[in-house]
Symmetry: C2
Subunit: 432 residues, 2 copies
């Protein structure tokens, strides 16, 4: 852990630095796999699934039988937990669904915007040592609320060629239309081009390691949209004297257990809080089953004392954390000042775990300071907006002088003609 006391602005850059990942080699790998998947389809998926996941898959689509089997292999307690989490996630995301909006000029023309769900979306659910079924909830529920027609999941198989039952059960419960047992760059390539079994989609959404992120970027060459680049997970906690050091330590560690490159940052204007929290971390870290990972991430943690709350908030906005916990008494006073963050947790009883799973907010969020320009996943991620306009003859006559003047100045004569031919024609007719 690195400690800073009232660092100068020049040092902020060092404190805020995130791990950098080179892209060049990843891009070469993506190019090779994409070209092969485009040409060979499922055959290429089989090859790379054997190469990376060490398993031979005959049919990538999860069958009805596998879905039924999953039903019996998920405990009633987990099903009930998923149902409660899904209820909150659905309730919050339903509020996000945008409506249409209209401008009626009063001069014979009106414009409006209508919302459409993206027809075909591909959701990537990472594999790993534990089944990340919570990510299924966070991706499928907003896609369904957005009225996406085809909601396809790709997720890597284990060495037995299976997908964890909790993922399959959650996928069906939340409304995914199909699940495919394919991961990594080859999964992204499959959804980019379509293969004999995996359908082509228009947008790919979801977290993933650096390979998956590079592949999503590469898919952009073929016109696919993506949500946002993904990086190592991070939390920034701001605390005052009213905070409980053991809670802060627990929150820092719940970030640290995600991976060795996780970022945990703690800032305060109360110097003694730093020592108390550090002591608590040392006590709690040894009790964790994933303490090896947590210890590695802890090496990277940063503890910073700033002069006052205002500088803390200024630092927050510069850092633009994925998760921000405001563990301060009068947190309501600072909400309006939060400019850059993915998701914000307020007060002593809002641990990051709540938003990770079940309070209703999404957990797929912008890392690596991307929160300066990106939102986390929300219903907007899965919709697009189309503008419409309806102009009456009167309306076009009203606009005509403006259109003609502007088109002339931009030297676009045909643009001008398209207006004049409509106005002139009618005048001629009226005269006739």
């Amino acid at each position: 852990m690195e400690k800073w006391i009232n660092p100068s602005l020049q040092d902020w850059g060092k404190i805020m630095a995130r791990p950098q990942i080179g892209n060049d080699d990843l891009e070469k790998l993506c190019r090779a796999i994409f070209m092969e998947v485009q040409k060979e389809g499922d055959k290429a998926l089989m090859k790379y699934t054997w190469y990376f996941d060490r398993v031979r898959i005959g049919n990538f689509k999860v069958s009805e039988e596998e879905m039924e089997e999953a039903e019996g292999r998920v405990s009633p307690a987990l099903k009930e937990a998923i149902r409660e989490a899904a209820r909150n996630i659905e309730a919050f995301h339903l509020k996000q669904l945008p409506g249409s909006c209209e401008y009626e000029s009063g001069n014979g023309f009106r414009c409006w915007q209508e919302v459409r769900g993206i027809e075909k979306v591909g959701l990537y659910v990472p594999g790993g040592s534990a089944p990340l079924f919570s990510t299924v909830l966070m991706l499928v529920i907003p896609a369904r609320i957005a009225h996406c027609r085809e909601i396809v999941i790709c997720t890597p198989p284990d060495r037995e060629g299976r997908v964890p039952p909790a993922i399959l059960w959650a996928a069906r419960y939340c409304g995914a239309t199909a699940v495919y047992k394919v991961g990594g760059v080859q999964a992204i390539a499959a959804m980019t081009f379509g293969t004999e079994t995996v359908p082509r989609v228009f947008k790919i959404v979801g977290p993933g390691n650096q390979y998956v992120t590079a592949a999503k970027r590469f898919a952009g060459n073929y016109g696919l949209a993506m949500d946002m680049p993904a990086g190592p997970s991070e939390v920034l906690i701001v605390a005052d004297r009213t905070a409980r050091p053991e809670y802060i330590a627990a929150d820092l560690l719940s970030q640290a257990e995600h991976g060795k490159d996780s970022q945990a940052v703690f800032v305060s204007w109360c110097p003694d809080m730093l020592e108390k929290v550090e002591k608590e971390v040392k006590r709690q870290i040894g009790l964790l089953p994933r303490c090896e990972i947590a210890r590695a991430a802890w090496e990277n943690a940063r503890f910073v004392v700033f002069e006052n709350p205002e500088v803390c908030i200024q630092f927050v906005n510069e850092y633009a954390p994925e998760h921000l916990i405001l563990n301060i008494e009068n947190y309501r006073d600072y909400i309006a000042a939060i400019q850059n963050a993915g998701s914000v947790f307020l007060g002593n009883y809002s641990p990051e775990s709540a938003g990770d799973y079940a309070s209703g907010t999404n957990h797929t969020l912008p890392t690596s300071a991307f929160a300066k320009a990106y939102s986390g996943i929300n219903v907007d991620t899965f919709v697009k907006k189309i503008s419409f306009q309806e102009i009456s003859e009167k309306g076009l006559r009203y606009l005509a002088p403006v259109l003609v003047t502007m088109a002339e100045q931009e030297q676009l004569e045909a643009h001008k003609n398209a207006v004049q031919i409509r106005v002139t024609n009618k005048e001629t007719e009226k005269e006739a």
Copy 2:
């Protein structure tokens, strides 16, 4: 012009094909220029501005004097036209500004979403033979409505090192915070890293040629967000017997004059309309000052007869045109069926020119079938959304069993601890 009568579904791919642009060389060029701009700042901008634009620029920032001078060089008629256009664009985009939304669970926790303008945005306004001041309106107005704090424009200088006065006047009138006389890949690199004069931004928005588009994609490697990839402009017109062939021809030509690679597609279920429109195009095309460009684009135009209106609309959604003109009597009946399009123009008196300039809709739209996943520029382009949650002690107790079950199943022990430590502690306290 290519003509198709009731093409089979297999042929749709050929009809819908857009010009393909290779990316490999462009990426190499971007890499070289980005690295130099990152290292050398303004010096590299000067070098590449001399190399590409053949002019030596000492200070890239447009000065107060240049702004004042522009004031006197824009005609009162153009100013008045821009003011009227800006009024409509502002009125429609104001309607788009999203609000916050909240989910109150009733169980001691609530989640909400707040909207923030992206602090620093970079707008690219292409150069060319004519000053594209209309693009200034289409980019700056939504950015200002979104409450972006810094709204920076980059646009290439002419050989005298100047920017057209109409662009400068519109930039100031609409509320841009600064204009820089730099274009191409070097402009995008400058906004990515910041130089001595050009500020770093968080998102780059605006149209551009293939170099600018490649540079915007490349900027993604450094964490910058972008609006969407840009391709050649396109229009798809659907017409029935009530349409006027001379209007359709004028609209097709106003697309064709944009560039030799512009796409103009005309579909109908009335075979005789094709001949009438073709005849009109031949009559009108010779009268255009940019007829050489229009003739080249005309070579690429596609005229297609389909069996009935429904197949026409199906084709529209597969093609996903940037501009869609529904020149049919009962166009209202088809609005709900339009799934993929950038901007839609309804009826006989809604030419594309109206939306290009002054009716209120945006003219920076998804081309090349990107409308399947992307919206055109709108206020959303310039905002991001942050989620907040506030959980009471009671609320955390309510959620705790769900959180603990899910964290256990994902084998994230520290996530579980962060909940339990808060619940257990309080229980102990109560007992004490």
